[in-house]
Each structure stands twice: as structure tokens, then as C-alpha cells.
């Protein structure tokens, strides 16, 4: 019994990581209808950002979020404006462009670091929290907490602030929003920036947990795709619960089948959901088909 509780706890914490990584991806998809293949690289940059802040400014990675988040917001906004804005209504070209960006970011970091594996220390690494019979490292708890807070905060922001309402209006019908005087391009740029900043935040919070490598983004992007597809394309809440589901699935498959097969099980499930219920658990039906066409 303790064993099962342990696995569930591991799964939930892993799910927290995936949820945090996926929220930004799904925001970008929901608003701009772009599938951003480079989202994992934004997480990777967040991790290296935390590392850079540590060696130059001796900042704790948790503190570094205040620098890394805005930096990635700026990068995201720049990427949107320069590369993706001209590709409106060309979904496949957007895929290729973000894939190219993925290659550029990953390999630039590889070229700069020469592939040396770095890690980051935090003052909080040593602490752990006990829940009944199980002990959990504080950094992992913080990730799950952060995922929950970010989901709630983003949900509140989209629902209650003027700017959030504008974002939702654009997500629903960009032409109507344009007619209402919303600056759609600016909303897209800001949304892409927020998505990138959330990835950067995730990177900082994950940096004490992982040994960094330039290729680590790929480890995040595929589960993140599974998360958004399971949870529902374009839904913030969906990314959160989708993350938890993916985390639990991976933990359970790893334990009951074989750790080597957990990826296979996860992606098989992913393909099945994609085919059987493409709108996911919280998404709008038909988004996978019509969502990416230029709205007319």
C-alpha cells in the first residue's frame, strides 16, 4: 500500500513538472493557434539562465526567476514578431519555423557550452517535506505548488483582467476582436511572450532537479504535447490536469510494466487519445482540425 502511495506521489510530482512546462505551450496554442515546437528549448534556456545567474550573480535559482522570466518574455515576443508573425495562416510553415528555432537554440547552447553538463545548487535542495509515510524533496513540492499557482493565477488573469479578457476574445474570434478595436498582433506577441516566460519560470524551478544538457528540451516537449492533447488543446486547466495524468501514467507504467516501456505506453496513449478524442478532456471539439486554419 505504501508502495502504491509512493508511486502516486512520484507520479503527481512528475505531473507537476509536466503541467508547469505545458501551461505556456497551451496558452500559445489556445491564443495564437501555433504549435510551438521550440517550447522545450525555452525551458532549457530557463535552466541555463538560472545557471548563469548563479555563477555570475550568485543568485539562488528560485530568486533567478525574476530575471529569467522577463528575459524569456522578451525573447518570446521577439521571436513572435520577427519569425512567426509573417507566417500567419501557414500552420505547416510555422511548424518548420519553430522546429528551426528549436535546432538553433539547442545547438547554440551546445556550441557555447561545448556540451559540458552543468548543475545548479539551491539553498532549499537539502530540505524535504513528509506527507504521512513518504518523504518528498522540497524542490519537487515547490514545482507542483508553482504549477498549481500558475494555473490558478493564469486562469484568474484571463478571466478577470481587461488584458486577459482581450486575450480570450482574440482566442475566440480574432476578426471580431479586431473589429472591437483589440490590437490582435500585440495580443499575440504578448501571449507568446507570456508562454515563453512561463517556460523560463519552469526552467528555473526545474534547474535544481536536473543535470543540464542542451538536449533536455526534447525531454520536455514530447510529454508536453501529450499533456496538451490529453488535457485539451488551448485550455489552461487542461494543461494542469493533463500534466498530472501524464505524470501518473508514466509513474504507474514504469512500475507495473517496465521502466524502459513507460515512454512507449505514454505515447501510445497519447496517439490513441489524439485519434479517439482529439479535443482532449477539457478542449473544444474540432480544434485539432479547424483550429489551425486561418479563421475566416
Amino acid at each position: 500500500m505504501t508502495e502504491l502511495v509512493n508511486i502516486l506521489a512520484v507520479g503527481l510530482l512528475l505531473g507537476g513538472i509536466y503541467a508547469l512546462v505545458s501551461v505556456g505551450l497551451n496558452l500559445i496554442f489556445g491564443v495564437i493557434r501555433i504549435v510551438n515546437f521550440a517550447q522545450g528549448e525555452f525551458v532549457m534556456l530557463g535552466m541555463y539562465g538560472a545557471f548563469a545567474a548563479q555563477i555570475t550573480l550568485r543568485l539562488d535559482p528560485y530568486v533567478a526567476t525574476v530575471l529569467v522570466g522577463p528575459a524569456l518574455f522578451a525573447l518570446g515576443a521577439f521571436v513572435y514578431w520577427v519569425i512567426l508573425r509573417p507566417l500567419q495562416g501557414q500552420p505547416m510553415m510555422q511548424v518548420f519555423a519553430t522546429f528551426g528555432l528549436l535546432m538553433i537554440l539547442e545547438n547554440t547552447v551546445l556550441a557555447l557550452t561545448g556540451g559540458t553538463a552543468y548543475s545548479v545548487n539551491s539553498g532549499l535542495t537539502g530540505y524535504s517535506v513528509s506527507f504521512g509515510p513518504i518523504q518528498i524533496g522540497l524542490p519537487r513540492v515547490l514545482v507542483l505548488t508553482a504549477a498549481t499557482v500558475v494555473t490558478l493565477a493564469l486562469g484568474w488573469y484571463l478571466k478577470s483582467t481587461m488584458h486577459g479578457k482581450a486575450i480570450r476574445a482574440v482566442a475566440q474570434d480574432r476578426n471580431a476582436a479586431r473589429l472591437m478595436g483589440v490590437d490582435v498582433e500585440r495580443i499575440y506577441m504578448v501571449s507568446f511572450g507570456i508562454g515563453a516566460a512561463l517556460a523560463g519560470l519552469a526552467g528555473c524551478l526545474l534547474s535544481p532537479l536536473y543535470t543540464m544538457s542542451p538536449q533536455i528540451g526534447m525531454n520536455f516537449i514530447m510529454p508536453a504535447f501529450a499533456v496538451v492533447v490529453l488535457g485539451g488543446l488551448g485550455s489552461v486547466k487542461g494543461a494542469y490536469f493533463g500534466g498530472l495524468i501524464v505524470g501518473l501514467t508514466e509513474a504507474l507504467a514504469g512500475f507495473y510494466l517496465d521502466p524502459a516501456l513507460k515512454q512507449a505506453v505514454l505515447f501510445l496513449m497519447f496517439i490513441i487519445v489524439l485519434v479517439v478524442r482529439p479535443s482532449g478532456l477539457f478542449g473544444t471539439a474540432g480544434a485539432e482540425e479547424v483550429g489551425l486554419r486561418e479563421q475566416s
Binding site: 504549435v35 519569425i83 509573417p86 507566417l87 501557414q90 500552420p91 505547416m92 510553415m93 510555422q94 511548424v95 518548420f96 519555423a97 522546429f99 528551426g100 528555432l101 528549436l102 535546432m103 538553433i104 539547442e106 545547438n107 547554440t108 551546445l110 556550441a111 561545448g114 556540451g115 542542451p214 526534447m218 514530447m222 504535447f225 501529450a226 492533447v229 517496465d258 524502459a260 516501456l261 513507460k262 515512454q263 512507449a264 505515447f267 501510445l268 497519447f270 496517439i271 489524439l274 485519434v275 482529439p278 485539432e288 482540425e289 489551425l292
Partner: protein
């Protein structure tokens, strides 16, 4: 009712000056010329084993990309998972060679058939998805099969991989000199180009393009969209698997991460087609002639100092192509030519 315009009453069989529709046979002279030019490159670089290596790789990737272009370009189904079929070919040939001592030449047909059957089976459900979602699903499929390949190490050799003993001879498809491999890959390229040309200049090719442009129109015109996609995918996967056989005998050491590599196989063959010209017959060859030597030279020049620099350049090419050269080199060239000739 008023008198209708006379042009409407013209009987259906009146001869009119219609643009010629190029047939497969009409495609052959250019095809022969292109292949001869490629052969000329091999002859020109006689004795230069670095160049012959580069040519062999270029022709292999041109052939793989041409195979991808049948479903990816003509049919518009942007698969990023073709490495799966590629790996199928390599593993089928490896098992037949290592366990049964059979020549890799004999593995070509089974590899093609098995890969085509597998491709059609898994594509069946996935073809419901469009655009980026189809691409993501094919990526996920790559991950599933990669995980399985690592797990079933008795077939694939697991993480250590497999190696084919060096026994030179045409029968074994193993050669001492690099030039023979360049010729081998050119022959494979010829096969894929002939198939691509035959498909393009056939009913199937037109129907694939119709499916690419608009599935509703295609269906209303009586095209079985799913069947058309499946046939296109089957042909494409079969050729890709043959490429896997040639690749295996060329490098003789394969492991799952390199065979299933998203960047080095799955995405690269799609990107070569994109750069050269999606859906065109010679686009993938043009793309490969540009990308593969460039990448090879970058890797040789900068690889030690700046690992990954070749992929940075590739990434930039990909972004810029997506932004400014959507139809690729061949597509843009054809447009320009038509514009100049048409005087428009």
C-alpha cells in the same frame, strides 16, 4: 430566353489549344539528364574519398527525401516519423543477414513490403488528423517505436546496436572503396526518382495533390481520401525502408537512437524536401545537393571546435526557407520560369 454566347454551344469535341499535360514518358529525358549529371559528379571526384562519401550521403538523403515527398509533398501529409520505416528496413536486412546469412539485396523486397504494411496500418487512424497534429502524432509514433526498439534488444541489439561484419563484395553490398557506395546510392536515387515521376504523372499523383489542396473538394470529386493517403504512404514507406537497407550496409553499425533520430533522419528528410521544393520531382535532390554537403563540410570544419554548428546553420536555413522560400528552390524556379515565359 436570350441567345446564349456561342462559345457555350460549342460541341464538346471541338479541338482547342489546350496546354499539354506532361506524361511519365515525357518526364524521362529530363530524368535521364539529371541522373547523368549526378553520375558526372561521381566521375569528376574520382579518387577523392571525402567527396565520394559526401556524394553517397547526398544521394541517399536525396532518395529518402524523394520518397518522403510522395506522401509529404504530393499528399501534403507532413510526416516527421519516416525514420520508423527507415529503421524497419535496416533491422529487417540486419536480421536476415546476421541470422540467416542472406544477402541484403534479398532484404530489399521484404523490407519494403513490411514497412509499407506497417505504415498503412498505423497511418489508418492517424490520417484523421491534419497539419501540425499529424506531424506531432508521427513524432510520438517515432518515440513509441524507439522505446520498443531499445526494449527488444534481441532484435535491435539495444543500446549497443548492431554491427555487420566487413565482408566486401557486391553480393554482400559491402565495398572497399567509397565510390562504389556513391554509385549504389545513385542507383537507389534513380529508383526513387522514377517512382516519384511515375506517381506525379499518374492519376494517383493528381489525386494526392487534390487531397493536399482541399480534402472536401477531393471527396466531392469522387476521390477516396483515406485510401489515396494510405497508398501514398505505403509507397513512400516502402522506398524509405529500402533506403534503410542501403544505409545499414553503408555504415554497418546501427543503434536505435541514430536510426530513429528525429533530427538526423525524420526531420532532415522533410526539411531537405522543403528547401528543395515540396511536391516537385527534383526538389528533394536539389535540397540534398545544397544541405548535405554544406552540413558535411561544417561538421568537418567546425565540429570539433563548435559541436552542433552544422545544426545551427540547418536551423537558420529551415527558418528562412519557411519564411521566404515556401515553395523551395524548385517551386520558386518553376514559378519564375512560368512568369517569364507567360510574360506576366
Amino acid at each position: 430566353m436570350s441567345n446564349p454566347d456561342t462559345s457555350f454551344r460549342a460541341p464538346p469535341d471541338t479541338p482547342v489549344a489546350m496546354p499539354r499535360v506532361r506524361s511519365f514518358v515525357g518526364e524521362l529525358p529530363l530524368l535521364a539528364f539529371v541522373l547523368a549529371a549526378c553520375a558526372g559528379l561521381i566521375v569528376f571526384f574520382t579518387g577523392n574519398s571525402f567527396a565520394q562519401n559526401l556524394l553517397a550521403t547526398t544521394f541517399l538523403f536525396a532518395a529518402l527525401s524523394t520518397s518522403w515527398n510522395i506522401i509529404g509533398g504530393l499528399g501534403g501529409q507532413f510526416s516527421l516519423g519516416h525514420s520508423v520505416f527507415f529503421a524497419f528496413g535496416a533491422y529487417i536486412a540486419a536480421r536476415m543477414h546476421l541470422d540467416l546469412g542472406l544477402s541484403p539485396w534479398l532484404a530489399l523486397l521484404p523490407a519494403a513490403l513490411v514497412a509499407a504494411a506497417f505504415a498503412m496500418l498505423v497511418s489508418w487512424p492517424v490520417f484523421r488528423l491534419r497539419g501540425p497534429f499529424f506531424a506531432i502524432a508521427t513524432m510520438a509514433m517515432t518515440e513509441v517505436v524507439l522505446a520498443l526498439a531499445m526494449y527488444f534488444s534481441s532484435i535491435t541489439g539495444g543500446a549497443q546496436g548492431l554491427s555487420i561484419p566487413f565482408k566486401a563484395g557486391l553480393h554482400n553490398m559491402i565495398f572497399r572503396d567509397r565510390m562504389s557506395y556513391a554509385i549504389l546510392m545513385l542507383c537507389f536515387l534513380a529508383v526513387t526518382l522514377i517512382v516519384m515521376a511515375a506517381v506525379t504523372r499518374s492519376r494517383l499523383g493528381y489525386q494526392l495533390r487534390a487531397v493536399h489542396d482541399n480534402e472536401d473538394t477531393a471527396e466531392a470529386a469522387g476521390i477516396d481520401v483515406l485510401r489515396t493517403k494510405l497508398v501514398g504512404m505505403g509507397i513512400s514507406a516502402a522506398l524509405t525502408a529500402m533506403g534503410g537497407v542501403f544505409f545499414l550496409m553503408y555504415v554497418r553499425v546501427v543503434d536505435p537512437p541514430s536510426l530513429f533520430s528525429l533530427f538526423d533522419i525524420g526531420v532532415k528528410i522533410a526539411l531537405i524536401a522543403l528547401i528543395g521544393g515540396i511536391g516537385t520531382i527534383y526538389g528533394p535532390l536539389l535540397g540534398a545537393l545544397l544541405v548535405v554537403p554544406l552540413e558535411g563540410m561544417l561538421r568537418a570544419e567546425l565540429g570539433g571546435m563548435m559541436p552542433g554548428s552544422n545544426l545551427i546553420v540547418l536551423g537558420f536555413i529551415l527558418v528562412l526557407t519557411a519564411m521566404y522560400l515556401r515553395k523551395g528552390i524548385a517551386g520558386t524556379g518553376t514559378d519564375l520560369f512560368a512568369r517569364i515565359r507567360g510574360g506576366r
